[in-house]
Symmetry: C2
């Protein structure tokens, strides 16, 4: 029987699961709640029973499962050890080993969720056909994942792909969650874009379609206004695009991937967002005309299960 692999994406609210063929086609996906009580001790048993029940339902034998990959929200050591996973309540644990025991014979591989999503986009998403991509996720924060030669660069201290905390903006006064000042995340996350819009509205006189939203303005509002031609919103997005362009240029001059894949909620703005980043990205990579291209992510919230499944195919 054709081999299958399983992808697991553990989030703070739900666990997403998927059964895949090894060619990357998704057979079935579903979710179970993430039970975080008592230090998250029920999460892995829940995952294991969900998987074993699904395999039975689909009449897939354990021997026909290459493995189960799992993305978790926190740094992961190469042996699967997790020091701490704040969002899940996990501390000093090895979820890879534990889930492997619970699944009785199915090999398990663990990865950080942002890195795993990048692997998913390389495999079947916006980076399909490439071996080297950098994924940038513009959501509540700014996440990143570096894939070189089809493998995750997790880093020696779990900091691989932490590009949201690259310093890009001198003169910023507020502190980032990381303790730094002037991080990419402070200006290019959904939160950051909204804040930049509030600051711009406060600093400038004159009309703007953004003013109707007042202090409740969201990144989506800013992008909608900018796409509709509002001058002040476009000014905000030029600032955001410039810092993103600088950060991507820096990464291009470090690992030089085939492509950057831009995902997360903010990326729903589509080609408009790519264009505003691209202008500045080109400006800060004048050294060569041949360089990584910018592309949109394609898998949305499923990137995690795709990438997790891909983890076990090496």
């Amino acid at each position: 029987m054709e081999k299958k692999c399983i992808g697991i994406d553990i989030g703070g609210t739900t666990v997403k699961l998927g059964v895949f063929k090894t060619d990357g086609s998704l057979l079935e996906k579903w979710e179970v709640p993430t039970r975080k009580e008592e230090g998250g001790r029920y999460i892995l048993p829940d995952v294991a029973s969900a998987i074993l029940a699904k395999l039975q339902e689909l009449e897939i034998a354990k021997e026909d499962v290459t493995g189960a990959g799992m993305g978790v929200p926190g740094p992961v050591m190469p042996d699967g050890y997790v020091e701490v996973c704040v969002n899940l309540g996990w501390k000093d644990t090895n979820p890879q080993q534990e889930l492997e025991n619970l699944l009785g014979g199915i090999p398990v591989r663990l990865g950080n969720d942002a890195n795993v999503a990048a692997l998913g986009e390389m495999w079947q998403g916006g980076g399909k056909g490439y071996s080297d991509i950098v994924m940038v996720t513009l959501g509540t924060g700014v996440g990143g994942g570096i894939i070189i030669d089809e493998k995750i660069i997790a880093g020696k201290h779990g900091l691989g792909g932490e590009i949201g905390h690259i310093h890009v903006r001198d003169g910023e006064k507020e502190h980032c969650n990381c303790g730094g000042v002037g991080c990419l995340e402070q200006v290019a996350s959904a939160t950051g874009i909204a804040r930049e819009a509030r600051r711009t509205m406060a600093a400038l006189d004159g009309p703007s379609a953004m003013r109707q939203f007042g202090d409740e303005i969201t990144a989506k509002d800013v992008l909608d206004c900018a796409k509709a031609g509002d001058a002040m919103a476009k000014m905000v997005m030029e600032t955001v695009g410039r810092y993103l362009g600088i950060a991507l240029a820096q990464v291009a001059l470090t690992v030089d991937p085939d492509a950057f894949v831009i995902g997360g909620g903010v990326s729903k703005a589509g080609q408009y967002l790519i264009d505003v980043i691209e202008k500045y990205y080109q400006q800060y990579t004048t050294i060569s005309s041949k360089k990584a291209v910018l592309a949109l992510a394609k898998l949305g919230n499923d990137a995690g299960i795709y990438g997790a499944a891909r983890l076990v195919l090496d």
Copy 2:
């Protein structure tokens, strides 16, 4: 007989060569001139005869040579193809294939010289014992090499490790050689440090030991004055250290190596230089206390032959 490997480092003036044991010990090193006339057509034949003569002299049979690695000053494709090597006059050539033919049976591997030097420092220099290092060479320009899992990240367009052209300085007016503005190289190369010193002397009143050198001041002069306690020279080095710290932080948050290895002429300033970079590097990596350390390169001009020899040991 114990296996040997050969390292070749092709520079614009001389070719450095070395015969190594596979454990990394250097048996013999020597140089031949780089004959650049006629599009550099004599360079590889010169290299081949130098190697074959040396093997005869040392009574080493070809069968006992694992291979010869070669670093060249320009971008190298994975198959050894070189589109252009300005300093050598090479165009549209495959030096890997050509040297392999000339050496009759000894396998040849090619790499970019900055990347190869980084591999050398990982193998037997300032990064010995580590698998993941980033080398930063502060010379006339600023070069870089990224080694992850003991392998060079050359990049998909030859831009891997081009960290000298990372944009770090907003407000810079002069253009860099790459066409960009505000590149790390413009402030942290030997040339850049001297320029920063001239600018500072021109902008500020007051005495400084740097003034005795006038417009002929060198990076070494600036560093000597700073180490001797001169306030204005220390101010210059704080600026240099800040931008280097920012750039290293960015790279740490991208590939997260074990260590940064700082080499090149400027690094002769030793621990003083490391300390001034470290202060800012820490400031821009507040996200984690565990991160890459900063170290000095150890192999000097021999890094290239070490790394080239290491190329053939995979």
